[in-house]
Structure formats: C-alpha cells, structure tokens
C-alpha cells in the first residue's frame, strides 16, 4: 500500500467549517449503551457452552507438589480439567518479560495465581468442581515490599531479571547534573510514597472461546489490546496466528486493566480446543483484584537544584530516584519503570536530569499500566516538591511554574520532542477561574487551594514489539448504497474510540454519522491497531482514518470531476453531497458520487495507516517517552480540612486540559471529569493493600480487601463540582489538531490536593492516598515543633550500576549515549544496570553482535 502517514498534510486552503468535528454529537454507540443492547463478553451466548473456573493458589509463594482432580471429576456435569502441564509455553505482554503461564506449571508466586482449570456444563457445577481440586504446596519465603525485595535476593521469585529480586534496574543521566547542583543557588530534596491502587472496572473480565472449523479458534474477550492477545494465544496454543481470531467486545471499563493477555483468555481457548465446544470464563470480582496490573506502589526521591533571580526561578538540575513494587510478574513493568522517569522533562525547562529506577518482584498480584502509566507517581512527587520550593522562596506557585515552562517545538534533555504546548493557558485558566492569586494563602484556617500540572503522551512512539509496520490501520469500503463501512482493529473501552473513527471518516467524506458502519477489534476482519492504551487512539487511529478517507475522497473527486466537468480542487464534500464550491447547485448526492466512482474505478476500497515520527533519542531506553504530541493539564483544587479529625474533602476542582482540538467536546468533557474523579479516588481512598494472615492461618500474604465494598472508591456524594476548561491549541501531528484526553487530566489531581491541604492547615502529607490519620499525625508533629509532615523517611540503598551517559541537545549530543551497552558487550563488561535482557538473551545477542554491527533493532526490541 501507500506510504505510511508521517504527518497529516496541513490544509492548503482556509479551513472550511466542520460539520461534525468540534461539535458535541451523540456517540455512535450511545443508543446501544442506554438500551442495554451493547454486547459485552459475558453477554454472549453460544449453544453447548461449557463454563470454566480457575483454581487459584492459596499460597503467596510455593512450589506445586501435586494436583489431585479425582474428587472434582465426580461432580455431576464435570467436563474437563487442565493444569500447567498442558500450557508449558510462557507468555507476557513485553517480549523481554515472557514470564507468565496460562496455568502455573511448577511454582505459584502470589495468592490468586492460577494453577488449574475445571470445565463443567453449568457455572454452578464448575464452581463446585473447582473447590474440590486438591493442590499440595511446598511454601517458600515471601517478599511483601520494595524494602524486602531489595534486602532479600534469595530465594528469587523469578530466575531472570537484573539481579536477585530486582526485576529491572535503570540508571541514566542527561547533561551535567553534578555541575548543575554545584552551581545551584539552592537545592531541595524530598521523598514521596505512592500506594498502589487498581482499575476497578465495573465489568469483570470475561472471555468466551469458540472452536471453529479447520482447527481454528475464536476468542471473544473484554480486552483493550486484541492484537497482543492474538499474538499471545498463537504462541501458547502453538497455532499459526492465522488460525486464531480475537474479537474484543466493548469493554465495560478498562483504564489499563485489560491491556495484558490474561491467563483466563488462554485457558478458555485451550479448553475449547480440548473439549470441542465453546468455553466461557467470567471472573468473579475477587479474581479481578488478582488480575490487577494496576498502579505500581512507588517510593520516590527527588532532588532539584535551582537558580534564583528575584521571582524568576530556573531548574538547573534534577535527580529522580524511583523504586517500584512490581508484584509477581513482569507485565508492562519494564516500560512502567522507564515511565516513572521519562516525562519529568516535558513540563518545565530542565537542562540536566538524572534518573535512576528499580522495579522489584514481590509476592503480590502483578502491577502494570493504570491510567497515566508510571507517570502519576513521579508527577505527584514533582508537583508537591515544586509547591514546597515556591512556599520556601515566597513565590506564588503559579508564577514559579509560569516562569519555567518548557518551550513548544523544543527537544528536552532526555530527547523528547515537544510540539504544541498549551500549559501556560491551562495554568492561567484555572488560576483565574479559582481566584488562586487572590485566595491562595489567604483562606480561613481549614480551607486551602492547591495548584498542580501534568503532561501525558498521545500514544507511545514505539510499539511493544519491535517492527516497522503501522501502529494503526483503517480500511474503508464504499459501494452503491452510499454507505461507508469502516474497518479498524481499535477497541472501544468506553473512551469513545468508535465515535472518533466514525467522525473523522464522516467529516472528510461529508456524510452523516448514520452513513458509517463500523467493524472494529476483530483480528480476522480488521487491519491491525495496537489497542486502547497509552492514549494513542485519537491521534493514531484518527490519522489512519483521515488518510483512508482522504484517499476515498480523491477517487470520488476524480470521478465526479469528470462527470460534472468541474475541476477537482473546486469540489466540496458536505451535507451528503459532492458539489462545486462556486456553484453549489451543481453537484451529486454522495450516493450518486459513489456510483459514478464505482463505475469509473471498479469496486471501491481504500486504506490508511499511521506510523509515528521517529524520535531523536537513540540511547538505550529512549523508546519510552517519545510521542507524536504531548497533552498538558493544570488543576486548582480547593479542600476543607478538619484539624480535629484530619478528615478532609475536596470542595471544588478547576481543571484545564490542552486537548489540541476537541473532536467531540462533550466526550472530551467526560474524559476530563472521569480523570478528575479517578485521581480523587486515588488521593482520597483507593489502595490495593496487603496483609499477612496470622501464623495459625499460614502467614500467607493476602489482599486486604478484594471486594468492591472494602476497596473504597468515590460514590456520587463524594464527587465535588468540577469546572472544566478545554484548551484548544491544534497540534499539527493530530487529526484536525487533536491530542489525547483520556489520561492526562488525572495527573495534576493528586498533587493539587496535597498542596491544598498544606495551604489549609500548613502540613505536608507526602504520600498517596492521604488518609485523615496522616493529616492528624502531621498536625501533631507540627504542634510538637517537629517537621510538619507525614511521609516516607528515606530511600533505600540500591546499586544502580553503571550509569548511561547521554549528552543533551544543548550539549550538542546526537541522541546516543556515550557508553552504550554495545561497547560493554564487546568488552564483556555488561553492567547489570539498564538493560532489558536476561543474561541468556544478552549472551545470545553477543553472539549476534559478532555477525552484525547494527544492534539497534535488538536494542530497541524490548523497550516498547
């Protein structure tokens, strides 16, 4: 097909008024969602369906000694049984951490790890049979925290990873950080802790596998990433990918929690092929807590050197250290680790930056990507840190930030290319709306205002596995009916991706949304799109759709131009017509235009695809952070705090989000408000926390509250009023100038609250969530004349190994490190730090290095 789209062509002529884009239209799946007609995975019914239940580990870390299914097999309705012996091939979302099994073959790593599966004719029978499966374990010592993982290299939870129970160690420096600190007028250092939390989508994951003719299998699943599930299924089932079909149903909420290939999906498919009948697994709510892949608990230390000239403050250097509690498996963790460092540089000018991160394995459900993936934790630290600097220096926190904003169209110290940058207007909007300048520091005791900012990706620059193919593809089929069928692998998780796809095509072709038919998220029928993650869909699917639709428009223009004898450049596509701009009466209905085109060219189909522009960063790890564009957000939050109880409440939220261009403002509003809500949940109450059972109950490490009731999340009465500003500063990389909105607006919420609590009662809680007892403890400390603070005391000793040294653009660097591992490989001195490969892989690549001098592909492979 044609050239991948590098950059959408700017409109040559003045932009005509759009008819759909920019208007608050009803989402295309809106009617089905309010009538209950939308089919989620568990709503699907196939004749002869067998129901499958997973037998999950009751031990946090143990060897499997024996599995006995004899009693289970006696349950009436029992149909089949699977253990890890039948699923020996490992899988995982990242090529560098293929460390999961559909069913554990020999070892379990957390309470909830699946060890066997039972199928039966009814769900009740499957449940009963699963309870009767006996598993004998030999317990191993367990690791429950970052500190324990660092201090306990043996026994290892996995036999791969950088060392001991440290899955991944990263260390890199950009520019002369030491000199920056030497020349600084003042240096500030803080430590923060961000507790883990989970997505809690209202829909429990569900998968239905249907065996088809010719040894094929179809899996219907609640997945954000059907393409990656497709790859994992083909691998584990040992089937050619062409015989595996994955259909992602509408997701009942995802937020990142349905982005990994999951055990239950593979088990459903394996069981369906074994029994020769459809197999369904729907997880209980408790099991959803075990699937997890949520926010990593992160301990952080941030150290910043500044130069000061009156109220003009500049950052001269920053060092950030992060330690992540990864849970029991890799998941997206290598990328998550890099993400805790990558986006620190895109909001404020930072000429020198050092980042060191470590991800630990612990015996808990695996952490992964949740809304903001790895960036909300350091963003919380950074924005509270800046607030402390502003207070210490006696500068208004808004001015502090406004004076140090990163420049639009610039390249950061860590080689991220910033395009449009609407943060200034975001800050001004929320500052003006909230009266921040007049009211900050001046509200009555117990009331406070806090300001914070954030930035997020519009899609990851690189795919999860290294390849040169498009990250998004769209195909159109047009025919004499006048209808337009649109095929795309994107998956609707509630964010409105179907509506964006339809709207872009309809706008370009000048037809109504009702003329568009969608076929999405079906690996047999639709071109590949990588999935609904990293806020990539609006920009990447939008651009692919734009290209496909523009190609269709070109063909139609040619045919209509010939028929009407009007130059192509004068043809307008609008109101379901194609007509002469100079003589609007002269034209064809869209249907007649397609008929003319079909007659002229034959059967009509076009395709469009999107590959992000190449990032200038070339160092190892440079794959995480680049994006075609960055969104920006700012929030001011007002809180009231009761100093007697420590109870606090958000009173009002002002949030501004730089969305580039709002393709559908009412859906953009919904994403902003939903992000604010989820951020408030994280800072107010949500935590995925664990405890050890008493000794007489095995001392096992268990989830504190795997239920919707006990895992607290905000309800209607908890949600304060929100004033939302949509800031539009079209970005040339986005379709119609659009940037992301699904994740970015969450980022400023948690730090804005922490800063507001300080404004209200003069204490710092350097931790999320901010529980009342923490506020109270900090107030007590303040009364006693101690540091008015609650939070972590320090950062553990970690050997971060040899640091990757990357000269910045300002220093005249070329994007590469001066001490990349390729040299180390050749000299046999590979550091344990900063590589994503296992030892075995490194050795294999070392052999490869003898054969080829270009390791770039292998280098980037795992980095995402």
């Amino acid at each position: 097909m044609a050239e991948p789209l590098e950059k959408p062509e700017p409109e040559a002529e003045p932009q005509r008024e759009t008819s759909i884009i920019g208007k608050p239209f009803r989402r295309v799946d809106g009617r089905a969602k309010v009538t209950g007609a939308t089919k989620f995975a568990d709503d699907l019914a196939f004749p002869r369906t067998a129901y499958v239940r997973l037998v999950r580990s009751t031990q946090p870390h143990a060897l499997i000694r024996a599995i006995d299914s004899s009693e289970a097999e006696k349950v009436p309705g029992f149909l089949g049984f699977l253990t890890g012996k039948e699923t020996p091939i490992p899988f995982g979302i990242l090529p560098v951490s293929q460390d999961e099994h559909a069913l554990c073959p020999d070892k379990v790593r957390f309470v909830g790890d699946p060890v066997a599966a039972v199928a039966a004719v009814t769900e009740d029978a499957a449940y009963e049979a699963a309870l009767k499966v006996k598993v004998e374990y030999e317990p191993l010592p367990t690791i429950s925290s970052i500190e324990e993982a660092i201090a306990t290299p043996e026994p290892r939870i996995h036999d791969y990873g950088d060392h001991g129970n440290l899955h991944k160690v990263v260390s890199m420096t950009f520019g002369d950080v030491e000199k920056g600190f030497e020349n600084a007028d003042e240096i500030f250092e803080d430590t923060f802790y961000y507790e883990g939390n989970t997505h809690l989508p209202m829909e429990q994951h569900s998968a239905v596998a249907v065996p088809e003719d010719d040894d094929r299998v179809t899996l219907y699943s609640s997945s954000q990433t059907p393409h990656y599930v497709h790859r994992a299924l083909a691998k584990v089932l040992e089937l050619p990918a062409s015989r595996v079909r994955v259909v992602a149903c509408s997701n009942g909420g995802g937020f990142g929690g349905k982005s990994d290939p999951f055990n239950h999906e593979i088990v459903a498919a394996k069981m369906a092929l074994k029994l020769g009948r459809p197999c369904k697994i729907t997880l209980t709510r408790e099991e959803v807590f075990y699937c997890h892949r949520g926010r990593h608990p992160v301990l952080m230390q941030v150290r910043t050197g500044i130069k000061k000239d009156g109220t003009d403050v500049r950052i001269v250097a920053q060092r950030l250290r992060t330690a992540l509690d990864g849970g029991a498996y890799g998941s997206y963790g290598v990328a998550s680790t890099y993400y805790t460092g990558a986006l620190q540089t895109v909001t404020y000018k930072m000429p020198a930056y050092e980042f060191q991160g470590v991800r630990c394995f612990t015996n808990k459900p695996p952490c992964g990507p949740k809304r903001g993936h790895g960036t909300p934790q350091p963003r919380f630290g950074f924005e509270v840190h800046l607030d402390k600097i502003a207070v210490k220096l006696g500068i208004n926190p808004a001015d502090l930030r406004l004076n140090m904003l990163a420049e639009p169209d610039s390249v950061t110290a860590n080689w991220l290319r910033i395009g449009s940058m609407g943060l200034r207007r975001c800050i001004e909007a929320v500052v003006e709306g909230s009266g921040f300048r007049e009211r900050w520091g001046r509200l009555p005791a117990g009331r406070g205002l806090g300001l914070a900012c954030g930035s997020y990706l519009c899609g990851a620059g690189l795919p999860i596995y290294w390849n040169h193919m498009p990250q998004s593809g769209v195909m159109l089929k047009l025919d004499r009916s006048g209808g337009v069928a649109v095929f795309c692998g994107e998956s609707e998780i509630g964010q409105g991706s179907d509506s964006i796809l339809a709207a872009v095509v309809a706008e370009v072709l000048g037809v109504a949304l009702a003329d568009i038919r969608l076929c999405v998220a079906d690996t047999d029928l639709t071109p590949v799109d990588l999935g609904s993650y990293s806020s990539r869909v609006t920009l990447m699917v939008g651009n692919a759709a734009l290209q496909a639709a523009e190609r269709a428009r070109e063909m139609i223009s040619k045919a209509v131009s010939e028929q009407l004898e009007v130059p192509e450049s004068r043809l307008v596509f609008a109101e379901r017509r194609v007509f002469d701009a100079q003589d609007p009466e002269k034209g064809l209905s869209f249907q007649d235009a397609v008929i003319a085109t079909e007659a002229r060219f034959g059967t009509l189909a076009t395709a469009g695809s999107y590959i992000p522009p190449r990032s200038p960063g070339r160092y190892r790890g440079a794959g995480v952070g680049p994006s075609p564009a960055y969104s920006y957000s700012a929030a001011v939050i007002e809180v009231e705090v009761d100093p007697e109880t420590g109870l606090w409440n958000p009173v009002h939220v002002w949030i501004a989000h730089d969305v580039g261009r709002a393709l559908n403002p009412v859906l953009v509003m919904g994403q902003v408000e939903g992000s604010v809500y989820m951020g408030l949940g994280e800072v107010m109450m949500e935590e995925q926390a664990f405890r050890r059972l008493p000794k007489h109950l095995s001392s096992a490490l268990v989830h504190k509250h795997p239920s919707v009731l006990e895992y607290k999340s905000p309800t209607f009465p908890d949600m304060p009023p929100v004033t939302t500003y949509l800031i539009e500063d079209p970005d040339p990389q986005g379709p119609f100038g659009a940037k992301e909105v699904g994740q970015g607006p969450l980022l400023p919420v948690m730090p804005a609250v922490a800063n507001a609590i300080h404004d209200a009662v003069g204490v710092r809680v350097d931790q999320v969530p901010i529980h009342p007892h923490m506020v109270l403890k900090a107030l007590e400390a303040k009364r006693k004349g101690q540091e008015a603070r609650f939070g972590p005391k320090g950062f553990p000793e970690v050997d971060f190994g040899e640091e990757l040294i990357v000269p910045t653009p300002e220093q005249g660097g070329d994007g590469t490190a001066i001490n990349d591992y390729r040299e180390k490989l050749r000299s046999g001195m590979r550091s344990s730090a900063g590589t994503m490969m296992t030892r075995e892989e490194a050795l294999r690549k070392k052999k490869l290095a003898a054969l080829t001098t270009d390791l770039k592909g292998a280098d980037l492979k795992g980095i995402k």
Binding site: P24, R31, K33, E432, Q495, Y725, L726, E728
Partner: protein, 179 residues
C-alpha cells in the same frame, strides 16, 4: 441442582414462564433464562449497584434477590425503558451527554434514576446524588449522569430546558473557535 422452580415472571409487562435452579438470583434468571443481558453484574455481592432493576417500581439489587421471591411481582429492566422505538428521556439525555461511557453501569443507574423521577419529578442535585449513591460508575466522574437526570426530569415535566452550554463544550478560555 435438582431443586428447580417453575414460575411465570412478569418482566417489562410481559409474562415469561421460566424454569431455574431455586437458589438462582433474579440477576441470573434475567440474564441466563430470559436472555435479558441488559442487566449487568459487577460484584454479585450487592456492592456496586450495577445489577439494579425495578421490582414493583422500587430499585432492588437483582444479585441479592432470589428470582423465586419475585413471583407475582412486576419486574422492570433496561430493556423495558423504551417507548416503542423511542428512547426514554433518561436514555436520550444519557446518550447525548455521554453519561454512558463504557455503558456497563448505565442500565442500573437508569433504573435507579427512573424510580427516583417516578417518586420525585423535580429532584435537587443532592437528592439525585443520594438516590444514586449505591451505584458506582468508574468512567464519568458522575457529573454527566447528574446533568442527564436533570435534563430528563425537565423534559418529563414538559419543560423546555437543556443543560448549559458548558455541559457540552466546557468552559472557554481563549479558544479561537467555539460552539
């Protein structure tokens, strides 16, 4: 397993004979025996509100009610909301405001809201919050739902009122083009 109940359920004004294991909940019977999958489940423990249906006009958590207990009672589910092919005002307002994002909690919230408006045609925002406090939504941040209920209530009272422009466009701060 062998203990089965046979009865006629009255769902959305229609009688449906069903046979089901006696211990099965109304949620299970609606979804599995009646193929009315519009009613969703999020916990099956009465914690999330997703499975809300109306029994005798009152919102109940169908995961906590045995189907056998609903003999002779009228049951309403989301499938019964439409009037012919027309959306109920609550449905239309939710669709137009994006009050349904993933749409999974939506049927339960629609049923709870319908019961509220039947009792109180002009609820205050706090009254709506209280009536819907048992229903969790992870997508919307609840605002569009509140606005949707207010909009539908106004329409049902015959008033010509729509939510303010800001509900659809957000607040403007220096954008060049705006709706």
């Amino acid at each position: 397993m062998d203990d089965l109940t046979t009865l006629k359920l009255r769902i959305n004004g229609e009688d449906r004979p069903v046979v089901f294991p006696t211990h099965h909940t109304l949620l299970e019977v609606l979804r599995e025996e009646c193929a009315l999958t519009g009613t969703k489940h999020g916990c099956e423990l009465g914690e999330c509100g997703t499975c809300t249906v109306l029994v005798e006009g009152r919102p109940v958590l169908s995961c906590l009610v045995l189907a056998a207990e609903t003999r002779g009672k009228s049951i309403e589910t989301v499938e019964g909301m439409q009037l012919g092919n027309e959306l109920h005002p609550l449905q239309a307002a939710f669709a137009d405001l994006g009050a349904a994002q993933c749409g999974y909690c939506t049927p339960g919230i629609l049923m709870a809201a319908k019961a509220l408006l039947a009792e109180n045609p002009a609820p205050s925002r706090d009254e709506i919050r209280e009536a819907l406090a048992g229903n969790l939504c992870r997508c919307t941040g609840y605002h569009k739902i509140l606005e949707g209920v207010e909009w539908a209530a106004a329409r049902m009272r015959g008033e010509d009122w729509t939510p303010p422009n800001e509900a659809f466009y957000g607040n403007n701060y220096g954008n060049d083009h705006h709706g």
